[in-house]
Symmetry: C2
Subunit: 331 residues, 2 copies
């Protein structure tokens, strides 16, 4: 295993340290609890928190900032954050208007966020509510979930709900909005190559030199089908069709398209995928309002991508365009 790391057990701490070093004005860090939080002052808004195992960067720590998350709880690589970190983060960022947890659907993450809610309720606050994100159409249940997995569609939920929180919406309104975004977003991905976790030092699953995993999960868990490598037109059509059929999306819909790299795929290949999806959508008279192409929700160095579609309304469009000030950026 060759990676830009020191000891495998220090990977998450050193990454979060680098994050805070790089954005000292806006990002606070409690290293021993792996809590990343907004340092810029804010008031009169519900606090938005997400969290999960590390290894999906920029999800979630790099989305902390004005217009998105107010804190992120990072677990060890591919393992849930701790109960006390979630509880502490909620207390820290609450400004008296309550806290909304946005949690991708994985059994471990759900359990800890649920326990944190109960503990906060028992101890008298802050008020907390939780929305579970489950946009992955690939499989009904999986290695790490009962029900569908939460994947890259979560980024649309953070973005839209984070923007609305800046506008002063209350906890109930934000919870409803988060459900509506989740109800209107669908995703499916595939892997060309598996990822290697630092602790294990070898791939999380085996893929032959001519095999791909269609519908792969964010930890390398199995998808719909292990099949032979095919050219981009075929693979991307499989993903896009699965997404389209699920909601279902139909002619006349206006959508946001996200082509999300899984960590090890160059941006040029993601844009090839975006071009293919645009053609498919055009043929179906589905209008793309905005296209998002980048690494948004990854699986360490996994190669491959996912395709997400979010069915839009005027409210979603406005909130997607709301400015953000988050660590992940170019300039």
């Amino acid at each position: 295993m060759k990676k830009i790391i020191n000891k495998p057990e220090d990977v998450v701490h050193e990454m979060l340290k680098g994050l805070q070093d790089s954005r000292p004005e806006t990002i606070g860090l409690i290293p021993e609890k792996r809590i990343v939080y907004r340092k810029d002052p804010y008031l009169n808004k519900v606090a938005i928190i997400s969290g999960s195992g590390s290894g999906h960067e920029p999800d979630q720590a790099f989305y902390v900032g004005r217009g998105m998350l107010d804190a992120a709880c990072a677990g060890p690589v591919f393992a849930a954050p701790t109960l006390d970190a979630i509880v502490d983060a909620a207390r820290m960022v609450d400004k008296g208007m309550g806290v909304l947890f946005l949690v991708k659907n994985y059994t471990g993450d759900r359990a800890y966020f649920e326990m944190a809610s109960e503990m906060l309720e028992f101890e008298g606050g802050p008020s907390v509510d939780t929305v579970i994100i489950n946009d992955d159409v690939a499989v009904k249940d999986s290695t790490f979930t009962a029900g569908r997995r939460g994947v890259a569609g979560a980024i649309f939920v953070y973005k839209i709900v984070g923007a609305k929180s800046e506008e002063g919406a209350n906890l109930g309104e934000l919870k409803g909005l988060a459900y509506r975004v989740n109800d209107n977003v669908r995703t499916m991905g595939f892997a060309l190559k598996p990822c290697t976790t630092p602790e294990k030092g070898s791939p999380t699953f085996d893929l032959g030199p001519q095999e791909i995993e269609v519908g792969v999960g964010l930890h390398g868990e199995p998808g719909r089908e292990r099949t032979t490598y095919k050219r981009a037109n075929t693979i991307i059509k499989t993903l896009t069709d699965a997404v389209l059929e699920d909601l279902p999306f139909s002619g006349g819909d206006e959508v946001a398209l996200m082509v999300n790299g899984l960590g090890g795929t160059p941006i040029g290949e993601l844009y090839i995928a975006a071009g293919i999806t645009h053609d498919i959508l055009k043929n179906k008279h589905i209008r793309v309002h905005k296209t998002y192409v980048n690494n948004y929700c990854t699986s360490l160095d996994m190669e491959g991508c996912s395709v997400s579609l979010l069915r839009l309304n005027e409210d979603f469009k406005r909130l997607l365009a709301y400015p953000v000030d988050i660590p992940i950026s170019y300039f």
Copy 2:
């Protein structure tokens, strides 16, 4: 070879098509010449053009837009753009105030941009000037260059010069500014794993499972040393020290730091590198004004990163902060 591509010979065209599909309001494309240009109207500014072989995305096509480049000429993967594309691009984006070519130092690119300048001069316009970027401290000459190579430091040149062009500076002023940025930026990178070009289908060079290439070039060309894999603290110190010693940078300097991924390295590892560099700079009393961590100038799916430092003045700081509207972004 498993990549998200169709036919290897169509990779660049399909990528640029995906780019235009994704940003139809702001990005124009002349597919047969691989010219990417700004569609939003602008006047009273010198036009800024860059170009080189493809495979370094987001460099350069994805930097076309307000505040950076007015056009980019993309060659085939790792091969220079054509003469007629450069000439056409210059004519297309000139608004009567002339055109500045910003070219990374590679023999092929230099030759075609130079011929384009001569042809435009011979044919009576537009006025053109050229600045060659050569920020890579790794080697004096290389496989593809006489003199030092141009690498990720080029992005600081585009950014600062592009911003100044929006403020209405003339061609001579912008040329001088481009030289000053180039004079104050230094870079060195390393590879953990080589890249695979679509046409060749196999790695551009061989690296053993425990080897790294220190000072690697953007096409996999050799650097300073082929050595054994070391932990991040050691590798990143080697890069940072080489950069610091070259200018040299010294205590009291204020810098912009760029940790640039080479295409296949996850963002989390780049932030580990950023944290290490911050510590080295702090010990030397060099102040980091702003940190840039992402894939800025890549080598297809190569794994590894480069470290760039730009010595700042108030003018550079202001121009780095100038807003951009370019295709590569998150939201």
